[in-house]
């Protein structure tokens, strides 16, 4: 059902566009260890794409390839119909790819507002003189971007803590602030590395709702890694399953659930 090149509407009424990003035969090695072996998959515009797999399957490495932390030894990354040359992470970010981390990577010394404002840095262009005297474009830019950030804070319901230093927040809120920072960048693709790790049921429900809302309201394409199967099956459009660096399944949650290789990987059979 996903072979059509152009946009189409899924059975539950969601519009999925054409291919945004394509990974072609990616292989990533660390010395003798093969973290990712010849994996190909695509991410389509507007969808929620999940990458799942047991521990050590290479999911986070895959995300790091997409966001430019690792450059694969073999294979190509295609983005918006063009082959992406090897890039530094900040260059990837400027192309409109934002991400969150499994272990929260917030700026602990700054307030929630400043943290989320850093997400707008790529949209701020005022020259150093204007900034030094807080005059003209620097001031105008600050206000414009503040408005965007306030909308994001409002959207994620963290307005009340905007002046609180991040180091004082509980875990669940930190995760939400990190999402806010990524979202403030106004990304084309949002990468989430285990957005629900370590959360209780209530927090997971909140986070799932936010992920769906982000996708819905802003039309942001989302690729996420998650361990909680019920969450993945509920919110994602398509799932890639990895095991030992190889792709063992790819398709809708329904397809994947009935895939024998996936069942084996999760329930465990003897690997020979």
């Amino acid at each position: 059902m996903f072979d059509q090149p152009e946009s189409f509407v899924t059975s539950d009424g969601r519009t999925i566009g054409g291919v945004m990003m394509e990974m072609k035969n990616i292989t990533l090695r660390f010395g003798g260890v093969v973290a990712i072996q010849d994996i190909s998959f695509d991410i389509r515009e507007g969808e929620i794409r999940a990458i799942i797999g047991p521990n050590g399957a290479g999911k986070s490495s895959m995300l790091n390839v997409i966001s430019g932390f690792y450059n694969p030894q073999e294979g190509e990354v295609w983005y918006k119909g063009e082959r992406r040359p090897s890039m530094k992470p900040f260059e990837v970010a400027r192309q409109g790819i934002a991400r969150t981390f499994q272990n929260i990577a917030l700026f602990e010394g700054m307030s929630v507002l400043d943290n989320v404002m850093t997400g707008r840095l790529n949209h701020m262009k005022a020259g150093i003189l204007s900034q030094a005297f807080w005059y003209g474009s620097a001031q105008r830019e600050e206000t414009e971007n503040r408005e965007v950030v306030e909308r994001v804070l409002d959207f994620l319901e963290i307005q009340h803590i905007r002046k609180t230093p991040v180091s004082r927040l509980p875990y669940g809120l930190k995760k939400r602030v990190e999402l806010a920072r990524a979202l403030a960048a106004d990304p084309k693709i949002l990468l989430l590395d285990e957005p629900m790790a370590g959360m209780n049921v209530e927090e997971k429900e909140d986070m799932s709702r936010f992920i769906l809302d982000v996708n819905d309201e802003f039309g942001t394409t989302i690729a996420l890694i998650e361990h909680d199967m019920s969450v993945v099956m509920d919110i994602s459009d398509r799932v890639v399953v990895m095991d030992y660096g190889k792709k063992i399944g790819d398709g809708t949650p329904k397809d994947v659930r009935s895939n024998q290789a996936v069942i084996d990987a999760y329930l465990g059979v003897a690997h020979d």
């Binding site: 840095l121 150093i128 900034q131 600050e142 206000t143 503040r146």
Partner: protein, 358 residues
């Protein structure tokens, strides 16, 4: 009138992001400016200028510069003394080569030259962090002092190896040289400090400041949101160097008048300015002022108490002074590791609820 945050509500984003969001703070800031510019120049005497105010103003500029690098961008530097020497020697060369240009320009250009030199020595920061970077900047410190001692061109081949500030005027008033009035020395330093304070505050609250803080707090995450670590770190080195260069130029031309590089800009100067920002508060412009005031005032205060108040022998007091200052610094840092600025923040938070505890 109570000092309160509550009751002051911002209605626009610019109002919320201003430097002093609380009215009381704003008025106090204006009051300080009025006192500093319109009252002190008329009552200042030589003792106050030379022992307290001029060194305080100059060290505050250096502390602001170093705080941008260490406190905001998280790059440790032990080269402040050497970088101040760059500012001093640049100023000397400019003053003697272009005697007709105003010294105000000379001082600003000295800042620019220092910025370039500091940026050069900041290049290793792209590869190394923390203690290792500190050692690299320490090398800069010793190299620069050696350079200004060895290459005679820098001190115009003078027999003593010293550099002496010629007489220069601003608006017809002498600001450098031995015959300068106390108020003129004070005023020129104050003008540059006010400039440095305002610029530093504006830069650190804007997008550049956020880039620096992001690099300081977590460089990997900073990169992932699109901060180029190269330009962010080097811009911190450059701007830090600009202010440190200005302070070095003022230290030589206005304050000392004659400088021997190893004495005036040795490693102890690097540590002194570093202590100022640690005691004052890393990552705070106010902390730079507080730290500079603390480190300048404390020895003077101790001397007055020990010699003047208790009648001790001057030599004994001078030696004990080192011990007491050192001990006070240690005690203070144990009690409040985040410096005077943090003390001030905590007091403000307490005041918000005062006099009701909950």
């Amino acid at each position: 009138m109570f000092y309160r945050e509550s009751g002051d509500f911002s209605e626009t984003y610019p109002a919320d992001s201003q430097t002093f969001p609380i009215k009381f703070d704003r008025y106090r800031y204006y009051a300080v400016l009025v006192v500093a510019f319109l009252i002190i120049p008329f009552i200042i005497n030589d003792y106050w200028a030379n022992a307290i105010l001029v060194p305080f103003l100059i060290y505050a500029i250096a502390a602001i510069g170093l705080n941008i690098l260490v406190g905001y961008c998280g790059q440790v530097s032990l080269g402040t003394g050497g970088f101040m020497a760059v500012g001093a020697y640049a100023c000397y060369k400019l003053m003697t080569t272009f005697p007709d240009v105003s010294i105000m320009f000379h001082i600003l250009i000295s800042g620019g030259i220092t910025a370039a030199v500091v940026t050069l020595f900041g290049l290793p920061s792209l590869r190394i962090k923390g203690f290792y970077l500190a050692v690299a900047t320490l090398a800069a410190q010793f190299f620069l002092v050696w350079l200004f001692n060895r290459v005679a061109w820098f001190y115009n081949y003078s027999a003593s190896g010293q550099i002496n500030a010629p007489d220069r005027t601003v608006f017809g008033h002498l600001v450098t040289g031995p015959n300068t009035d106390a108020w003129a020395k004070y005023m020129i330093c104050l003008v540059f400090l006010t400039f440095a304070g305002i610029v530093a505050r504006n830069l650190t609250r804007g997008s550049l400041g956020r880039k620096w803080s992001a690099i300081r707090d977590m460089d990997i995450a900073a990169e992932i949101i699109g901060v180029n670590p190269l330009s962010a770190k080097l811009s911190a080195f450059a701007i830090s160097g600009f202010f440190i260069g200005i302070s070095g130029a003022l230290f030589f031309s206005v304050y000392l008048g004659a400088v021997e590089v190893g004495e005036a800009f040795g490693i102890q100067k690097s540590f002194l300015v570093l202590f100022m920002i640690i005691i004052g508060g890393l990552g705070s412009v106010f902390g730079s002022f507080a730290g500079a005031a603390f480190m300048v005032l404390l020895p003077v205060l101790l001397k007055n108490v020990l010699v003047g108040g208790l009648g001790w022998d001057t030599a004994l007091a001078a030696h004990l002074e080192f011990v007491i200052v050192g001990a006070l610094i240690i005690i203070f840092l144990i009690a409040e590791p985040h410096g005077l600025a943090q003390l001030w923040r905590v007091a403000k938070e307490k005041l918000r609820l005062w006099p009701f505890p909950h």
